[in-house]
Amino acid sequence: MGDWMTVTDPGLCSESKNISQYTSETKMSPSSLYSQQVLCSSIPLSKNVHSFFSAFCTEENIEQSISYLDQELTTFGFPSLYEESKGKETKRELNIVAVLNCMNELLVRQRKNLLAQENVETQNLKLGSDMDHLQSCYAKLKEQLETSRREMIGLQERDRQLQCKNRNLHQLLKNEKDEVQKLQNIIASRATQYNHDMKRKEREYNKLKERLHQLVMNKKDKKIAMEVLNYVGRADGKRGSWRTGKSEARNEDEMYKILLNDYEYRQKQILTENAELKKVLQQMKKEMISLLSPQKQKPVEKADDSTGTGISDVEEDPGELSRESIWDLSCETVREQLTNSIRKQWRILKSHVEKLDNQVSKVHLEGFNDEDVISRQDHEEETEKLELEIQQCKEMIKTQQQLLQRKAFEEERASWLKQQFLNMTTFDHQNSENVRLFSAFSGSSDRDNLTVHSRPRQKPYRVSNGSLVCTSKLTKSLPASPTTDFCQTRSCVSEHSSINVLNMPPEETRPNQVGGECANQKWSVASRPGSQEGCCSECSWTSTNSHVEKDGLP
């Protein structure tokens, strides 16, 4: 029953041996039999299998096989293969259903086991490969560890050597320093020794000198003398003077005077230098402020500190300037103020430049588009500024042109008035002038007769009014004469001009918005003889042309 045939399958030699060990034992642990059975089941089906299968149960031992199987299965927890025994000692019948169920169960279990085995095998493989991998890693790491240990040892060795060297060098340095100190000490001690010796020798020498001097003096050597043909006068022609206390005091005075002069001279130089430097600093400050302030046109309420200080500095500035011009001495506080304000401005300028730098760097980082935008903004700002400037300049030019015109007019008027007065007194010159006047009044386009063109200019209506007034006056005032008409016109003209002249001030209010001093100028011009008639009347000609037709002159 328990005879298992050994299967000569090469891969399973060992396992079959194991199996053969347990052949005689019927009491086997279920698990080992189970595993054996599993192992056996993994044997590929071959011819031997059939014989292997048929080896257990034959025709003869059916009952025993069934009972054996029943025993085994019941130990495994399967239900009994026999049917329920009705009584004792009767032969138990085989329960086919139970057998089939057991078979099915066994098949199911077999399949499960196979799956499990597969899983286990794959896992085994995996674990094996993991193990290999880990082993290789381990080997590598071990190698690395080895090399790094060796490296470390090498570095440690080098470190040790260098430290050794370092210590040696320190030692050498110390030795050298000690030697230097020693030598210095030696030198110092020798120096004191030599000094002492030298002093001793010098004292001896001085004693000798004194002795010699005594001898020389005592000898009364007549030869020590000066032989001169005649005494020479002093270089400055003065006589010699005795040495007295007064002369001593005088010498002292002179000495101090010389010193004082020198100090004063130097102080002057230093003061001028200081003044120059202060001027330069002030200029620098002004320029810095002007550099900073045009960009800071934002309102002061901005939280930006630099703006605030910049503008406040500008406000401070006039005050400071006036203060400093008053205290244009090297006053301590003024000096400090100036340097502090310069420092402040410099810091502001620096921060501003840094900001600009940051902006520029940001621009470079942010790329091309932003660059365009920012630069355009700058351009726009600049163009705005320039346009403003242009406008201002244009306005200024216009006003200046007007002023020039008016001046010219006034001058012409003045000259004309003068002529008028002259004409009134001397009638000889009248005729020529009358002709001229007539031609002028008749509205001819004779450009030569410029003297009279000055009159009607900008206010034709006034002229006409004035003329009406004039004639009435004339009839009363002037004496009758053949040339009365002309006189009338002339005086009329003069009155016109005078009226116009008188009427000038209120009209000047308009241009005065631009220049406040125009009125005064005109008044002064009116009294002066017009020298610019020629040039100015050219410009007035264009205006008069239009007015001449309107002119309703008598």
Binding site: N195, K223, Y231, G240, R243
Partner: protein
């Protein structure tokens, strides 16, 4: 440039008169006066009693003294009155130095062993004595305006300075100096500050005001050899101190602190510096070899060397005294714009420093060691001689080398300018000659003296 004829000279004692009109050139025992302006070259000849060791003009150019140390004699001659004579005999007291006082009427004689200084007066019969003068490099100095005399003294192993008023020889101030061994004193050109410096074993410069107060002390370093030469700038703004470490330190007159220091390295690498090197213009033979032997000393010219340049150096003997290292010669130009220096271990070069920018301006390297250089008293023009037969002139416009004409080799060992700056006296061992530089209007009255042989 015109050269005069060559005259005999002894001891290189050629001196111009303070007004620049005359030149004195002592022979062995005769004194030659040469006029620099008139046609007559030899004006007067005086004969002296012995070999002349020292010649000095009086400040008003009327008198000239000749000192004969061996005999202890000083003879004074008058230019206006050739028959006038004066003789001062020190006798057994001996004579080691003699000089004029600034008023031109007193002579200060230093007796042997520096026992005393005797002040002889040419106007009166009075004689004054000053005791304990110090025997040092520069112990007597007169202020430029001629009012004061500063004298270095030593008593009981301590140094003192006495200030005398020259008009009546009254002692104005007497104070001690904090020096080991005072080596020299010098008045500033403005006459208000006195610079005193210690021996070369100790670097110390002391500045005293006219009334004897110590204004400042300056010490650059310890232990090494110290000061070798000192010079005031004519404007009194700067004091240049040249020392054995090869540097010149400039002190400013306001704070008496060092403004800057000028080093003298043998290698120049600053590209802004112009380096002129003297090069021989050797005449070439037909085969391209230099013609040999040249009949006379070869002409030379200056070439501009490209920076970096390395100059010739001299290694001095370290165990000898007074080694040839350090800045041994210093001179400011008359407008204080330039400072010319010579570093003794680069003996062939003259360094010219720009005082406005406080940096090196020009370096002139000669073929031989520079013997002497002097600034023209009127303009920034430097005359250099290096023992050859050429004299070199440098100005900011350029530089040139001029051969001294003559039959033999005229070895220019030293030179001096008159105060007018229009001529140069060139001194060799036994001869001297005058060199007239062209004036602006070209008027050269001494055309006759172009006696070249």
């Amino acid at each position: 440039m015109n050269f005069s004829e060559v005259f005999k000279l002894s001891n290189q004692l050629c001196k111009f008169s303070p007004d620049g009109k005359y030149l004195s050139g002592p022979g062995v025992s005769a004194l030659l006066i040469v006029s620099t302006t008139t046609h007559v070259p030899i004006l007067q000849l005086y004969s002296c009693l012995d070999q002349i060791q020292h010649v000095e003009w009086s400040a008003d150019s009327l008198f000239i003294l000749c000192a004969m140390y061996k005999r202890g004699l000083v003879q004074v001659w008058s230019l206006e009155q050739p028959e006038w004579h004066c003789r001062i005999d020190e006798g057994s007291a001996g004579l080691v130095a003699s000089c004029w006082s600034p008023d031109g009427r007193h002579i200060l004689n230093t007796t042997e062993f520096h026992l005393r200084i005797t002040v002889w007066s040419l106007c009166t019969k009075s004689v004054s004595y000053i005791k304990y003068p110090k025997a040092c490099q520069q112990g007597i100095t007169f202020s430029r305006d001629g009012r004061y005399l500063a004298l270095a003294e030593r008593r009981d192993c301590k140094d003192y300075v006495s200030i005398f008023v020259c008009s009546d020889w009254q002692l104005l101030r007497h104070f001690d100096t904090d020096t080991q061994d005072l080596a020299g004193i010098e008045w500033a050109p403005n006459g208000c500050v006195l610079a005193a410096w210690d021996t070369c074993l100790e670097y110390k410069v002391l500045l005293y005001s006219l009334d004897g107060r110590l204004l400042a002390t300056y010490c650059a370093y310890e232990w090494s050899l110290g000061i070798k030469s000192v010079a005031w700038s004519p404007s009194s703004q700067f004091l240049a101190v040249g020392s054995y470490d090869g540097k010149v330190r400039i002190l400013n007159h306001v704070t008496w602190k060092m403004l800057t220091e000028f080093g003298h390295p043998a290698a120049i690498s600053d590209p802004r510096v112009v380096v002129y090197k003297e090069a021989e213009k050797s005449p070439r033979g037909a085969l391209g070899r230099p013609a040999c032997p040249p009949p006379r000393a070869a002409e030379s010219k200056y070439e501009i060397a490209a920076v970096p340049v390395s100059l010739q150096t001299l290694k001095p003997a370290a165990d000898r005294a007074n080694p040839k290292i350090g800045v041994g010669a210093l001179a400011f130009s008359p407008d204080s714009y330039f400072l010319a220096t010579r570093n003794d271990n680069v003996p062939n070069a003259v360094w010219v420093w720009d005082m406005q920018k406080l940096r090196l301006f020009v370096v002139l390297e000669q073929l031989g060691p520079v013997r002497s250089f002097q600034w023209d008293p009127q303009q920034p023009r430097l005359a250099i001689c290096s023992g050859g037969s050429k004299v070199y002139l440098w100005s900011p416009a350029g530089c040139m080398s001029v051969q001294v004409p003559g039959e033999g080799d005229f070895q220019v060992l030293s030179l001096c300018w008159p105060v007018t700056g229009d001529a140069l006296a060139l001194l060799s061992k036994d001869h001297f000659c005058l060199c007239f530089l062209e004036t602006e209007d070209g008027a050269d009255a001494l055309g006759q003296l172009g006696d070249h042989t």
